[in-house]
Symmetry: C2
Subunit: 379 residues, 2 copies
């Protein structure tokens, strides 16, 4: 199997780690942990559905490598993303006898990765973390780069830590169990990576999704919603792109902010529409459309590029319109509590062309307001 | 006034900072923050009693430096040290409009420093922190070095972060308002620094406290419990000693563990006797006595050195006996949940002589048990 595995190094000095991508990675997890020099005691965190699918095989793999592990679960979905969950995970880990040399394993999607990662950052002031992403979103985005966190009443991900994993194991077999909606959300982040950093990736996705060839390596398959080859390419390319950005700017002083393309609008949409109604990738999809249109309005992005982005997102089955009945004033207010505000000015990631992003801190509020009003009327 | 100020640099690469020690430092805080390149919006965290003493002058100083600050308080004492307090502080900071470029100010003792520091570590995944210690414990120990955290049901400081301040301002004038009990707790940590790292410091304290000269620079004064000169010397020397240890071993992989001398026994005493009954410095004092006796029992420390340590602690007005009625079995169990356990073995900091510590991971549990039994019977 391991001939099928790609390994992407994430270069962060003494916090460097490897991302292993391929089928069968979950079965190899125990040995990967030993190879990474991790301890002999671990707590695996998941949600009930994912634990049912993969929990036993993960525990078996760890056990074969003589790692004493237990499995705990958090409630499914965004409602797990609160500080109390992190405290509860720490309590469970302490009660289970984990020490400073032990580690946590996040087995699941973005939510599990975020709360488990934050718990690893806080437990004994920091223990090692292994990310085992089971969704496309987590594989192409959230499991790499060290952002962890929880939500609070005033917004998403406002409380958290930068805490890099010691190892990421993305088992592509897990994607076969993924609901179509989750697959689409993952594609939103892959499309984002293309739009901000890599025209080649963008065009390969266009080729597969917009032009829909009847056959070939990149053809869609009904089972996973995208071909095995496109999935592998998307995950590997995304990890390489994101890894390079994070290596250059771990704490988001500069270029890392590009990865937030679509996210300031997206977080506001999630908040105003009610957490959980729009999935994160769906909100980001609409957010990217709004950010692209803002770029056109500012005269910095060609209208044709904005339209190509909308077409690709739509072809991936993602929403591109603000949900009907959304209050544009509430959206604008929610954007004001985003982390990307600094000294009272909203910083937005925009495109100058497909494959090239920049940060603009000078958009007049009136222009954003008008954009949101029009987008809400269209809905 | 600034001729009276000592400045101790803490050398941590890009996380380096200065500790300013002297009278009048609170009035200079605003300018210090500007000099350190901090932002223009801040939240000052304190407890009600400390806020009454110093809150307004801190806000005035920040305001004069054109820093927009507000003051919030947490409940006094150890019961503030829980994860919910950290979440509440983050919520208040977000609601107050702080952004990633803003900063938190911890105005108070160890508890305020720990929860405010942890909140700064988590808010927007990390904002700048200023420590303004008002107690001797905080000046000589907790405000320097970046340890932050909260308690949980199973033990003290088990959840937290390493988060260095950008600036520490220790205003020696604040010590004049300090209750005698708090002064004694601070001296416990100064004595600790002498015992593990610096025979000179230990002997100067002996000179002042055991031999009690009738007059001179180091004489005790009724007002602050120790002379202004001894206070200044203790704070500056402690910051230099601790700064050097932290610079060499920020995340406690080695020598930093020495700073935990007396703390594994101490944390267990605090837990078993009920958080709050024994103050931290008192528990550490008894803990140091137990650790020194264990060293004698292991044949590594001269009995005379252990007795000198007990005599100095007693002269400082600190307890040196386990409180009457303490269950030795409960103490031993509580020690098992300390962070210093690794792979099931309890690591203890011991002395080889006054001024020289080491970490021992090989003490038989039976020997610790016997020590605790005897110490409890003596009480």
């Amino acid at each position: 199997m391991s001939g099928d595995t790609s390994t992407v190094p994430i270069d962060l000095g003494e916090r460097s780690y490897l991302v292993h991508i391929g089928p069968g990675e979950q079965a190899r997890l125990g040995q990967r942990c030993r190879d990474a020099g991790l301890g002999r005691r671990a707590m695996v965190v998941s949600n009930p559905a994912i634990a049912r699918h993969f929990g036993q095989s993960i525990l078996t793999s760890l056990g074969r490598a003589e790692i004493d592990a237990r499995l705990v679960t958090v409630v499914p979905g965004e409602r797990a993303k609160k500080l109390a969950t992190v405290g509860h995970l720490c309590d469970q880990a302490i009660a289970a006898g984990l020490d400073r040399g032990s580690f946590l394993v996040a087995l699941g999607g973005g939510v599990v990765g975020d709360v488990t990662g934050f718990a690893a950052a806080c437990l004994y002031r920091g223990v090692a973390l292994v990310q085992v992403p089971t969704t496309l979103v987590a594989m192409v985005d959230s499991s790499v780069g060290g952002k962890t966190g929880v939500n609070c009443a005033l917004g998403k991900n406002l409380i958290g830590a930068f805490w890099q994993p010691s190892l990421v194991a993305a088992d592509l077999d897990a994607l076969t169990t993924l609901p179509a909606r989750e697959r689409r959300c993952g594609l939103a982040e892959v499309i984002k990576h293309g739009a901000i950093l890599d025209l080649d990736l963008f065009e390969r996705l266009e080729e597969a999704l917009v032009r829909r060839p009847a056959a070939g390596d990149f053809a869609l398959t009904p089972r996973v919603g995208l071909s095995a080859e496109l999935a592998r390419y998307s995950v590997e390319r995304s990890c390489r792109l994101k890894g390079a950005v994070v290596a250059a700017d771990e704490r988001e002083a500069g270029q890392r902010a590009w990865l937030n393309f679509g996210h300031t609008f997206g977080h506001a949409l999630e908040k105003v529409c009610g957490l959980g109604r729009l999935h994160h990738g769906e909100a980001v999809s609409i957010g990217m459309v709004l950010a692209a249109r803002l770029g056109v309005r500012r005269g910095e992005l060609a209208g044709a590029d904005s339209e190509r982005l909308e077409r690709l997102l739509a072809a991936a089955g993602l929403p591109i319109q603000v949900p009907r009945g959304t209050d544009p004033a509430a959206l604008l207010a929610a954007m004001g509590h985003d982390k990307k505000v600094r000294d009272g000015r909203l910083k937005l990631v925009l495109l100058s062309r497909l494959g090239q992003a920049f940060v603009a801190g000078d958009t007049p509020t009136a222009m954003i307001e008008q954009l949101l009003n029009e987008a809400s009327r269209e809905a």
